[in-house]
């Protein structure tokens, strides 16, 4: 029943240096060199409009370099996302007063279309890093950051709030310091969920890399060396070969990053599963196995142990465990302090809204607001149609895959791959098709938006079908439930919670995608659809700030409204009725 977790000391002594160590050393050095090579060029001078970076070349030879640049951006954004997640999530989970502001704020922020931010942040960052290309880098990184960070933060916050009572009590009985509680209980408990969300966010981030590296504001094209700019350039020049090359490269990159980064991390994170029994199917990773065979990580770990111990003592000394104030709620302040706090919040809210409204109204006539609202409704219809069609198409397929263990082992990663593949790389093909067939983009944009969004429905339904307990399926077979009865009584309730999760993600993704999907071009031909996304894009291209703010705010309102009125209720229903 019990296996040896670590090799015995004798085994370690017998093999002083192995090929695994060599591989790990070479791998590490190679990685550092690559980062240095690729990162070096981020500091080139940049003073628009006179000094501009080198134009993007469509030569395939340059692709690896562009990929490296994009990848580096992704990881820098990820680092910031993690830092943000830890601070914001911790504050929200531990201070009730902070929670009252941070949670709704997070809810709004995640509904704001990331691509709407681009133009807003552009001038700020260019001013901040005057004279260096870093400003543009910061814009792209910030866009990727905003696409990744919110659900990571939510996941972390949610994990911190749901640490099981027994673990919390255990930590308090044994009087762990807050630092020890954070490092030994909270972070490990949140690890698996955070890891999973980070991986998903990272996949979603590719879409924004592609959209944020080449931005046009005020009819001025800004381009950063990267795979996104490469695709943008290829679209501009209607170069099909280059697009195919970019797609292949992108696919290879996703697979490579998955193999080298996410698989090992997910496999490693299995130890943080909060289960008291050994799981049957544990993820495996050859990279992790390599690292585990090598003794270098262990040696480094052992060498750093005194440092860890020192930091632990230092921080434990300052962050004593919270004491219990008997008979009183924590931090008993008079009620009026809380009232005042709420009052200030409300005042700030009203003030902010007023400033925003006045700014918008300085340029935009009141009637246009109604008109933008109408545009929002049109895009809303697209989102609804898309979600409905994705559901109808992918639910049966997802269930079929999920019920078949062999198929799901095979196809689940494929669905995840498709979800993280930036759909905007595929836009040109659809665009060409639309141009050739003469179908309006008003309809065609639904297809474009679905290219990325639909996969979330698929792989969540697969996961949902897998989670239906086999004894329930056996019961259904035993009772000879078939056809619609089977769907009505077992399958739909069983996959419902997972479908809701997939639906929220898909519709959120579709709103974001509308900004790039409602205006597309191929070579000299540009197609336009009527919708809020097109409105925002046009405003961005014209550098029309009040209209950008209006469009982004309107879209946020729509997303928040849809979430509140529709998805939240479905979610609550699934929690109450259909939780397995």
């Amino acid at each position: 029943m019990v296996r040896l977790t670590f090799p015995t000391r004798e085994a370690l002594q017998r093999a002083p240096f192995r090929w695994a160590d060599v591989a790990v050393i070479i791998g590490t050095l190679g990685l550092l060199t690559l980062i240095a090579l690729v990162g070096r060029t981020a500091f080139v001078p940049f003073e628009p409009p006179t000094v501009m970076p080198e134009p993007i070349s469509l030569n395939v030879v340059n692709l690896p370099y562009y990929m490296g640049r994009s990848l580096l951006r992704m990881f820098i954004a990820l680092l910031f996302s993690l830092l943000f997640t830890f601070t914001y999530g911790y504050l929200a989970a531990h201070s009730p007063r902070a929670e009252r502001v941070l949670l709704p704020l997070l809810d709004i922020l995640q509904s704001v279309p990331v691509l709407g931010f681009l133009s807003v942040t552009l001038s700020f960052f260019i001013a901040l890093f005057r004279g260096s290309l870093l400003g543009l880098e910061a814009v792209a990184i910030f866009a990727i950051f905003t696409s990744q960070v919110w659900n990571m933060t939510f996941s972390f916050y949610h994990s911190l709030r749901s640490v099981p009572r027994e673990l919390r009590e255990c930590a308090r009985v044994f009087r762990l310091s807050r630092w020890q509680y954070f490092t030994r209980v909270e972070v490990p408990y949140a690890m698996l969920g955070l890891m999973w969300n980070t991986m998903m966010s990272f996949g979603g981030g590719w879409f924004f890399v592609a959209a944020s590296e080449a931005i046009s504001v005020l009819n001025q094209e800004y381009q950063l060396p990267g795979i996104g700019s490469y695709v943008a350039k290829a679209i501009e020049e209607a170069n099909v070969t280059a697009i195919v090359a970019a797609i292949v490269a992108m696919g290879l990159m996703i697979v490579t990053v998955d193999q080298l980064v996410w698989r090992p991390l997910i496999a490693w994170a299995q130890r943080f599963r909060n289960e008291q029994t050994e799981a049957k199917d544990t993820p495996n990773s050859w990279v992790l196995n390599l690292l585990r065979t090598s003794q270098l990580p262990k040696l480094i770990g052992a060498a750093l142990e005194p440092l860890r111990e020192f930091i632990d003592r230092l921080l434990s000394g300052t962050l004593r465990p919270k004491s219990l104030r008997m008979g009183k709620p924590p931090l008993m302040l008079p009620v009026w302090v809380d009232r005042l706090y709420d009052g200030i919040l409300i005042a700030a809210l009203i003030g902010g809204a007023t400033v925003l409204l006045r700014f918008v109204l300085s340029e935009v006539p009141l009637g246009e607001i109604l008109q933008v609202c109408g545009l929002g409704l049109i895009t809303l219809v697209r989102v609804i149609v898309l979600t409905a069609i994705s559901t109808l198409v992918w639910t049966p397929i997802g269930v079929a895959i999920g019920f078949n263990p062999r198929l799901s082992r095979l196809l689940q990663p494929v669905a995840q791959f498709l979800a993280s593949f930036p759909a905007n790389f595929l836009f040109p093909f659809v665009t060409m098709l639309l141009i050739a067939s003469g179908v309006s983009l008003d309809v065609g944009s639904i297809v474009l938006m679905a290219l990325g969004a639909q996969w979330y429905v698929l792989f969540n339904v697969i996961a949902g079908a897998q989670s239906i307990p086999s004894d329930l399926r056996e019961m259904a077979a035993n009772m000879r439930l078939r056809g619609w009865q089977l769907w009505k009584r077992l399958i739909i309730p069983g996959v419902f919670p997972a479908w809701v999760t997939g639906g929220i993600t898909a519709s959120g993704g579709a709103w974001n995608a509308s900004i790039v999907a409602e205006i597309v071009s191929w070579g000299d031909v540009t197609l336009r659809a009527t919708g809020l996304g097109a409105y925002i894009t046009t405003a961005t291209q014209n550098g029309d700030w009040p209209r950008i703010v209006l469009g982004v705010a309107m879209m946020s309102l729509f997303v928040v409204g849809l979430n509140r009125l529709f998805w939240r209720r479905l979610y609550a229903l699934s929690e109450q009725r259909y939780a397995l």
């Binding site: 029943m1 019990v2 027994e166 255990c170 130890r271 599963r273 008291q276 008997m326």
Partner: protein
């Protein structure tokens, strides 16, 4: 007719006696109440009402209650995990306002961190105290050894069975060497056999006297478990949770078996008390007879004296009248009578109207060679003297065949006055030596199995 058996002095403790304070109180709960707000402002719900109790040094207390009696809430208030609505908890003279530093806890669901190894889990509870790494490791390894998990230090909890996980839970609490060990239904998540096993080991550890905590507070809904382990069982009533009464378990650990009559009576009595929430606990327990002395007193006779008398009787079949024997042997009656009582107790002789006759066994015994007669004596002793049987079985069950004599002296003192208890012990040792069942070493105060 002579009275050969003196009835046992009745020293059983009355059940309504207040707890025997073995030492100073460590934890005191005074008028503890706990109320929870009902949702939507529908007033409050009282979970605990006016709880008063004390946990003294050196005692094993069980809090016994059905679900809804608030026993878990009470435990958490005593541990300083949640505040009482009114009343207070004093621990080591200090008012408890945060996690109680005198307490280490064993959880029902183990509460092990699945991402830490056995060793790391145990070490963590010392790390929180700021114990330096080397000492931490040594102490943790010792605690792991103590619960019988050596060899599993680097295993992860999920690789362990339920029983082993709870052993880690115990090790983690032991390593703190708390004043009071809190156990929150520690065996209820385990299967029956594993629970039984672990319970037995905890009882043994406690009984041996080198338990890593001064006192224990056990929460349970299992009556048998409470009677098996505790010195004192506090019975909680439900709605609202309150102390209904307490029962002192006046049984030595050796006698706590399901087959023991008094054990069964205690369990049944408590069961009646628990199933009749409106009845007074004392009243419910009144049906439980006071304990019979499981160890009928041994007559004050040495083994040599017994075999001497039997030899004389075998050689002189005409000698039957006890006063005659007394004068023939020049033995005062008050010295002769215990020897006769012993011979009768062991089944070597019968007494009828002041005349003594050898039984068949008695005749074989006194005419056999020394080895055979020792063997016969041994057989009779084991069959007819519960005290010696008890000592012998206990010793054979010990891995090293050894036990502190004090264990049995304490046990005897529960049934005999102190001086008599010592005499009973001395007689048992004398008979044990003669039959080569066990020996007593005065220098280290230990009983040992005789070496063949």
């Amino acid at each position: 007719m002579m009275t050969l058996f003196t009835t046992a002095p009745f020293t059983a403790t009355p059940l309504d006696r207040p707890s025997r304070p073995k030492g100073a109180p460590i934890i005191i709960a005074r008028d503890v109440c706990k109320e929870f707000e009902l949702p939507d402002g529908n007033g409050t719900f009282t979970v605990l009402k006016d709880i008063n109790l004390q946990i003294h040094e050196g005692e094993f207390v069980a809090l016994l209650g059905r679900s809804g009696s608030g026993k878990s809430t009470l435990l958490r208030i005593l541990a300083g995990l949640i505040p009482p609505t009114s009343g207070e908890v004093i621990s080591s003279g200090q008012r408890v306002t945060g996690p109680n530093p005198d307490v280490a806890m064993v959880f029902q669901t183990f509460a092990l961190l699945p991402w830490l190894t056995v060793l790391q889990n145990v070490e963590l509870s010392l790390e929180a105290l700021g114990v330096p790494p080397k000492e931490r490791r040594e102490r943790a390894l010792k605690a792991i050894d103590m619960v019988g998990l050596d060899g599993f230090e680097s295993a992860y909890p999920k690789e362990l069975s339920g029983g082993m996980k709870q052993r880690v839970g115990f090790a983690r609490a032991f390593v703190r060497q708390p004043k009071v060990l809190f156990m929150d239904e520690p065996f209820s998540a385990l299967d029956v056999l594993t629970a039984e096993n672990l319970r037995g080991e905890i009882a043994e550890l406690w009984e041996q006297g080198d338990f890593p905590a001064k006192s224990v507070l056990l929460i349970t809904h299992n009556i048998e478990e409470a009677v098996l382990l505790a010195d004192r069982v506090i019975i909680l009533g439900a709605n609202p949770g309150r102390v209904r009464g307490e029962v002192v378990i006046d049984l030595s650990y050796a006698a706590r078996e399901r087959s023991n009559k008094h054990f069964k009576e205690l369990v049944d009595g408590i069961y009646i008390a628990m199933t009749n929430p409106d009845r007074d606990v004392r009243d419910a327990m009144a049906g439980v007879p006071r304990r019979e002395n499981p160890y009928p007193p041994l007559p004050h006779a040495t083994a040599g004296g017994i075999s001497g008398l039997l030899e004389v009787l075998n050689e002189r079949p005409d000698l039957r009248d006890l006063p005659e024997i007394s004068s023939t042997l020049q033995l005062p009656t008050d010295e002769l009578l215990p020897i006769v009582d012993a011979a009768v107790l062991l089944g070597f002789a019968v007494v009828n109207e002041g005349d003594i006759t050898l039984t068949d066994i008695g005749r074989v015994f006194s005419s056999a060679d020394i080895q055979t007669s020792k063997e016969i004596f041994r057989r009779q002793v084991l069959e007819r003297v519960p005290l010696i049987r008890q000592i012998y079985t206990t010793l054979t069950e010990r891995p090293n065949g050894m036990i502190r004599a004090g264990v049995f002296l304490d046990m005897l003192e529960e049934h005999f006055p102190e001086e008599e208890a010592q005499q009973q012990f001395d007689i048992a040792v004398d008979w044990g030596r003669y039959t080569e069942l066990f020996e007593y070493d005065q220098t280290d105060d230990r009983l040992r199995l005789s070496q063949p």
